[in-house]
């Protein structure tokens, strides 16, 4: 049996169709099974070379992509911006074209500027996978989040997911909204008004400023980090004030009328958006998200590298 994605690059969830998402999930389930074998490596991409270009810091995504590529037996080169010629003034297009001249088939890129992946996909002849572009999209994170919810709750249709925290600076939030809606889930965003984008309603999401109300409404709460590195002005009076209003603690969790699932894309700021007890509780699927991340990225690489 053959199957194909409707896109040539993975730039954002916005471009995907539901059938694409389902194909990625189905393939990822098989890769997840392979990751539980004693030998976790398959030769599918042994003729491919993949470059990971991270122009912005990353731990989880970079390691997860690298591991996924190695598990598929691809040849892997990785570049971190801080140690590259980018700091000497080379343009993005020149950097990438130089790397492609070394016969690279797939480029996985994280970049601080929104649209960097789209820009590249129009100008270079290789498969581009967006690993996060500014505050725009982070498609593989959204796919692994939706995959993890589906694994935990069986289906996404009709499920209610609340995304809590710094929505304004979050690429995870935008990709998650697109992905969850395509899968038939209802989405609510919750955070201080200053950290919600102005026209967020137009995406068809519910908006709530009260954490308790959002948690009572949802089946799953996805807690986002406050992205201080992207904030050049103060969006709330103090971190302490934010924690008091939007920090998820065990007390709040236990006061809810039902058991909800807790997610976090990482990195966690323990004691800020989520308390340690909640992050480590049995309602949290944070580490399952990380585990599923490798399988999802293997599926995306496999389906796009043909």
């Amino acid at each position: 049996m053959e199957g194909k994605l409707s896109v040539k690059h993975l730039l954002g969830i916005k471009d995907l169709q539901l059938s694409d998402i389902e194909l990625i999930f189905k393939t990822a389930e098989n890769f997840k099974a392979i990751l539980n074998q004693p030998i976790k490596k398959v030769p599918s991409l042994r003729d491919k070379t993949i470059a990971n270009l991270f122009f912005e810091n990353s731990t989880r995504t970079k390691l997860s992509f690298e591991l996924a590529e190695r598990r598929l037996t691809a040849d892997v080169i990785s570049l971190a911006a801080s140690s590259s010629s980018v700091s000497k003034g080379e343009t993005l297009l020149d950097t990438v074209n130089n790397i492609l001249a070394m016969k690279v088939d797939v480029v996985v890129m994280r970049h601080p500027n929104p649209g960097a992946a789209v820009f590249l996909s129009k100008r270079v002849n290789s498969v581009i996978i967006n690993a996060g572009d500014g505050a725009h999209e982070h498609p593989t994170q959204a796919l692994l989040d939706a995959f993890s919810i589906r694994e935990k709750l069986g289906d996404l249709k009709g499920k209610r997911i609340a995304i809590v925290g710094d929505i304004l600076h979050s690429r995870v939030a935008l990709s998650n909204i697109f992905c969850l809606q395509k899968c038939g889930a209802e989405v609510m965003v919750c955070g201080p008004a200053t950290l919600l984008p102005k026209h967020i309603h137009s995406l068809g999401v519910k908006v709530e400023s009260n954490l308790k109300k959002a948690l009572e409404w949802c089946d799953v709460a996805n807690m986002l980090r406050i992205q201080l590195e992207r904030q050049n002005i103060s969006y709330f009076p103090s971190l302490r004030d934010y924690v008091l209003q939007y920090g998820l603690t065990l007390d709040i969790l236990n006061s809810l009328s039902k058991k909800i699932v807790i997610m976090h894309p990482g990195p966690i700021n323990r004691g800020v958006e989520i308390s340690s007890e909640v992050a480590d509780s049995d309602q949290s699927i944070i580490l399952q998200q990380v585990e599923n991340g490798v399988a999802i990225r293997m599926a995306v690489l496999y389906l796009l590298s043909n």
């Binding site: 049996m1 053959e2 199957g3 194909k4 194909l23 189905k26 393939t27 389930e29 098989n30 890769f31 099974a33 392979i34 074998q37 004693p38 030998i39 976790k40 490596k41 398959v42 030769p43 599918s44 003729d47 598929l72 496999y302 389906l303 043909n306």
Partner: protein, 179 residues
């Protein structure tokens, strides 16, 4: 298009019986033995043989699994679109086990080669044997030969062997299709 029946429902049943007895001759009680059907259609033969050995012949030791070889294939880049895998279901270890690998039709041997690779990812078996329902001899690309064969046929590459199963197609039948 010309269709010829090469295994009628009646002969199909006799062939399955014979394969079961051949296995019993070599494995007796099937201690420490597992049977693995290759996805998608090798699993049908594995299920049937397994079922018959258990229900009619009381050989309850034999474990059954199914294995998908998609990611281990060597013709991955030869198709227009990526091949989509089926489920692998092996909930036992094959370390030091005797393995009977099962497929419906043996043609070039490339699927079996992928199957051996995929299987070895689960551990190091003591020994592996191959059972197929139909052996299209003289068409091998690789030096792979079956240990148990339902029926051997002489075919040319443009011909197609179609195996139908009661479980999925309503009846047990093997046809040779010439175009």
């Amino acid at each position: 298009m010309l269709e010829r029946i090469i295994l009628s429902p009646q002969n199909f049943k006799l062939t399955l019986n014979r394969l079961c007895y051949q296995l019993i001759e070599n494995y007796n009680n099937f201690e420490n033995t597992v049977m693995i059907g290759l996805q998608p259609r090798g699993t049908f033969l594995a299920q049937r043989i397994h079922e018959q050995l258990i229900s009619e012949m009381g050989k309850t030791n034999l474990l059954l699994g199914s294995l998908d070889v998609t990611f281990y294939r060597d013709d991955f880049r030869k198709h227009d679109a990526p091949l989509i895998p089926q489920a692998t279901d092996i909930d036992f270890t094959i370390e030091d086990k005797k393995v009977i690998l099962v497929d419906d039709v043996l043609f070039t041997g490339r699927t079996i080669r992928s199957g051996l690779d995929a299987m070895l990812s689960f551990g190091r078996p003591q020994k592996v044997e191959l059972m197929v329902l139909i052996d299209r001899r003289f068409s091998r690309d690789l030096p792979i030969e079956p240990n148990y064969v339902g029926k051997t046929v002489d075919t040319i590459a443009s011909e197609k062997v179609k195996v139908m199963w009661k479980q999925s197609d309503g009846e047990d039948l093997v046809k040779l299709i010439t175009t």
